[in-house]
Symmetry: C2
């Protein structure tokens, strides 16, 4: 399969869904504009794509869960808006455009993030489709757990606290596993939960997601050192400037890349129980290593 065309097609589906979901005007207009600005800025849509690919791996039609998958992108986008704030990472550029608070001011940026996070749960609990109510509740709980203090929010807090500290393996692992890994793992699990997969299948998807999530963040760290700013849509070298605790800062680039490769091998191995339905998940894992943004 051609993974680049696959990602482009699936990302396009998510973009269309999100654009039409937020098509209807509401007040205040500037709040809606600010949410659309960041949400429709053209991200990779990795989390929704993973959820759909995982649903597909369970033999289901991914189009059926586009709304639930897209809700993950609202949560990811809210986290980027809040992380970019002056009080947090103080970033000016994101996805090739000025960050939300640079355009709309800090107050609206905070509220846009709050609004996206809240709307995500509204979307996740839509009972009009074919998914059972039990699965919807389980899925939304999984996402809440992964996005909250025991996951993404906790990881981001540790990331902020660890700035300017001497790099240290345990804190670094905590940050990567929580800040990025948790929501990526939940995205993969979401597909399995909505497909009502059995425990064995869910365990396999969880193991895939956990390995993939940390590998993704390691590659992110590496790209911040050696990537191309024009392809990334944000300046490189910002982790070093902020004295962030990263894999390259602790292990150097070569060893970090080797660690990412190992994790990707583990992720793919975890999918052994799946048939060719899981080919997209396998190809996504390989792509993570080769990505340039």
């Amino acid at each position: 399969m051609d993974i680049k065309s696959y990602l482009k097609e699936r990302g396009g589906l998510v973009n269309s869904f999100l654009s039409s979901y937020f098509d209807k005007p509401f007040l205040p207009a500037v709040l809606r504009e600010s949410m659309r600005y960041s949400l429709l800025a053209g991200g990779k849509r990795l989390r929704p794509i993973l959820a759909m690919a995982s649903y597909e791996a369970c033999g289901k039609n991914p189009a059926d869960i586009i709304q639930y998958a897209s809700a993950l992108e609202l949560i990811h986008t809210y986290s980027l808006i809040h992380d970019d704030l002056p009080a947090m990472d103080n970033d000016d550029m994101r996805r090739g455009k000025p960050t939300n608070h640079k355009v709309y001011g800090e107050a609206i940026a905070i509220l846009a993030g709050d609004g996206l996070l809240t709307e995500a749960f509204f979307m996740l609990l839509d009972t009009s489709g074919s998914v059972s109510k039990e699965s919807l509740i389980e899925a939304a709980r999984e996402v809440a757990l992964a996005a909250g203090v025991h996951g993404m929010v906790g990881g981001q807090a540790q990331d902020i606290i660890s700035e300017n500290s001497e790099p240290e393996a345990q804190a670094l692992q905590f940050i990567h596993k929580h800040k990025t890994g948790a929501l990526i793992t939940a995205s993969v699990k979401l597909g399995g939960i909505l497909a009502e997969a059995d425990k064995n299948t869910l365990d396999a998807l969880t193991s895939y997601g956990e390995n993939l999530g940390v590998a993704f963040q390691i590659v992110d760290d590496i790209l911040d050192v050696s990537g191309d700013a024009s392809v990334l849509g944000k300046p490189t070298g910002s982790d070093e400037k902020k004295k962030k605790m990263t894999y390259p800062s602790l292990y150097g680039i070569d060893l970090s890349m080797k660690k990412a490769e190992e994790l990707i091998t583990n992720a793919i191995d975890a999918l052994d129980i799946f048939s060719e339905n899981a080919e997209p998940l396998r190809e996504i894992a390989k792509y993570i290593l080769k990505r340039r943004h």
Copy 2:
């Protein structure tokens, strides 16, 4: 009934529940501390109390929904933490203590708010109790709608945008209905939804909540002009200093109080279909007018 003892007893139940829910340590410790700091700072617990009183009005045992009711307090507290931020209302005191960001810094305050909001949905979707899954989903959707861009977040955005503008009836109504009214209405509805009340009953609770919510905010505006700072736990006169659009600024204190009284009468009238089970809801409404903080 003695409404003050009732409020004290019910508030105590909520405080105990929240304290025990957040008893277990998690990392990073400062994030947990910051969430507990604001959550356990001794608010009135009006929203959880309303949800329980409304469940009680439907003939049910309020203790059964303490967790769902308490989730509302997480959402209310998150909104206070974010509203107090320098980029928003820039407040230094809240509930008689320095605001969250004054103690823990802006980054942790933003994340504590994000974490509380996310955890609220986790709490609302706990299926271990006796409430049906259908009701839990409906209740969580109602709360998400009321807390998000079509409710509280939208109202706060309009409030920020309207600062320094000439007071104007339509914008003021929008702010009060959304910023405060929406979550208070949802709190009252929550009890009805979880009790599986019929449409007539839910409509009555909604009407009560809508009237009560706006009345509550008008009294809040009045207390900011003429209240006692030491009882309020925050300085008075801050709305005028920030040129906020408020009822007193548009109509003066006497007319504002009259409007609040009218709304409370409407709220109580809406409860006509209920028996004496709704006595607490009626007494809460009367208390709203007399409250000093």
